[in-house]
Symmetry: C2
Subunit: 315 residues, 2 copies
Amino acid sequence: MSESRPVLALSGGVGGAKLALGLYRILPPDTLTIVANTGDDFEHLGLSISPDIDTLLYTLSGQSNAELGWGRQDETWTFMGALEKLGGETWFRLGDGDLATHVERTRRLAAGESLSAITDDFRRRFGIAVRLLPMSDDKVRTRLDTDRGKLDFQDYFVRRRCEPRVRRLEFDGSETARPHPDFIAALADPRLHAVVICPSNPFISIDPILSIPGLREALRLCQAPVVAVSPIIGGKAVKGPTAKMMEELGLPVDAASVGCHYRDFLDLYIADETDPDTAARLDLPTLLAPTLMATLQDREALARTVLAAADRIRR
Amino acid sequence: MSESRPVLALSGGVGGAKLALGLYRILPPDTLTIVANTGDDFEHLGLSISPDIDTLLYTLSGQSNAELGWGRQDETWTFMGALEKLGGETWFRLGDGDLATHVERTRRLAAGESLSAITDDFRRRFGIAVRLLPMSDDKVRTRLDTDRGKLDFQDYFVRRRCEPRVRRLEFDGSETARPHPDFIAALADPRLHAVVICPSNPFISIDPILSIPGLREALRLCQAPVVAVSPIIGGKAVKGPTAKMMEELGLPVDAASVGCHYRDFLDLYIADETDPDTAARLDLPTLLAPTLMATLQDREALARTVLAAADRIRR
């Protein structure tokens, strides 16, 4: 019964959350720990916003907005309309329901609670049975060195729609950030079944997690297999700027590049079956599988593929 | 053309705002200055909320919620529903559109702008042509000594629905608060036509304004007539706890009590025509008039009555 053993998943927002949802649906409750990237977190309009945590909360609870591809379902936009009339900043779209998450998080942070304690309470109130952890309770902020200067992540990502060319990424605060203790405990658990790197953007969703001191080393030393799923299918990103960034960073725009990015700790790379040349370009065990997750069934099937593949690996 | 001379109105929330709207509609633009009570202001969920200023903004711009009697028209409540599911505090109802006012005000206060500068900009963005001033840029907070202990204003007013019995009121911060300079300038203007005390609750809407050092004296010395309109009609408050508070404070529950409350600076008291015995109980010029403002026409008619009465008074 390998599936009753604990599983640890590292995830960014939308793409990663799809596989996280698949894992959540096929694993017994309390088996799964999901570690969320917080490099995207920022303060806006006086509110503390954690986009990847929120995407995971909304996705795992079945309350994500399928039409938009981000935010909450049954959302309204009265706040945004009123803010615009007051001359407020509206480049970051905040739905009325989404706003409750930010206002309440901000209030509780100001009252001295940790991001992880708040996230755990929110997770429970959303009716989600997995453990959902921010990678750290310390601030790590992704900044991009671009042809338009050094930009904060959301300035680059949302306000400028990823248009500037990226030269380099920095994770401010990572030098002194400590991983969440439960994250380290999960990695050290001798019963751990697998570490799953979800199909998120490696540079802006997974690298901030890996930038925390000791993390890459902990992944190398972990006794459980580490399995990553490619976010690149047929030379394109399913969503977001992954492919564009790879090109700007001078990397071949293909699935193999992402596997290569993780090669110091990775045991198995899962690429899409439409990318059969991935294995030849990687000095790593590679599995081809259908990785596009259009439906809920796709998510569950990919989660099963990942765990079954991990079963066949002994470190 | 007395109506082109400046008029100064002191107002609280809903009741006062009705007469303020009547004055706004009959006076030439730039003639009217409205001073809003800020004793009700409070911090809630990390937001700086100024209920009386907001009621004036929404009322004067024609965007108040007629069905509710407070808040904004065409309001949605998605935020509140989501906040409740997160276990947040929901006793103070914040509509999605209303929230924009609080979030943007809070952001701008934190950035170092004054409440009056923000209010003036909001007023302009709401398309309101009068000058709308907070009574002070300094914090004054109404607190109530009650049979349930000392309570912050909104705790008493909203959370406990005015149920505790009031013994005494305090205006924290008033000792050191300075009136807004334009408020003092308006009072000292030799062309001033009238000072209008709107039909607001005298204890919680007008007294905080009067608690600012020098204010009662300035009203006594002002060369223009000071005219107050009764918020009590037929021994009852049109809205809110005015009558209940009068009883608890040991005052006769009638229109005359309110006139008496202002007697040190008042030149004329306007009571409702259904309260003909008011004059007999007051050592003050008293005018009886229809004061219930059910319609927009009522508001304009009462505003005309007030200004015409002021015309007949020479201090």
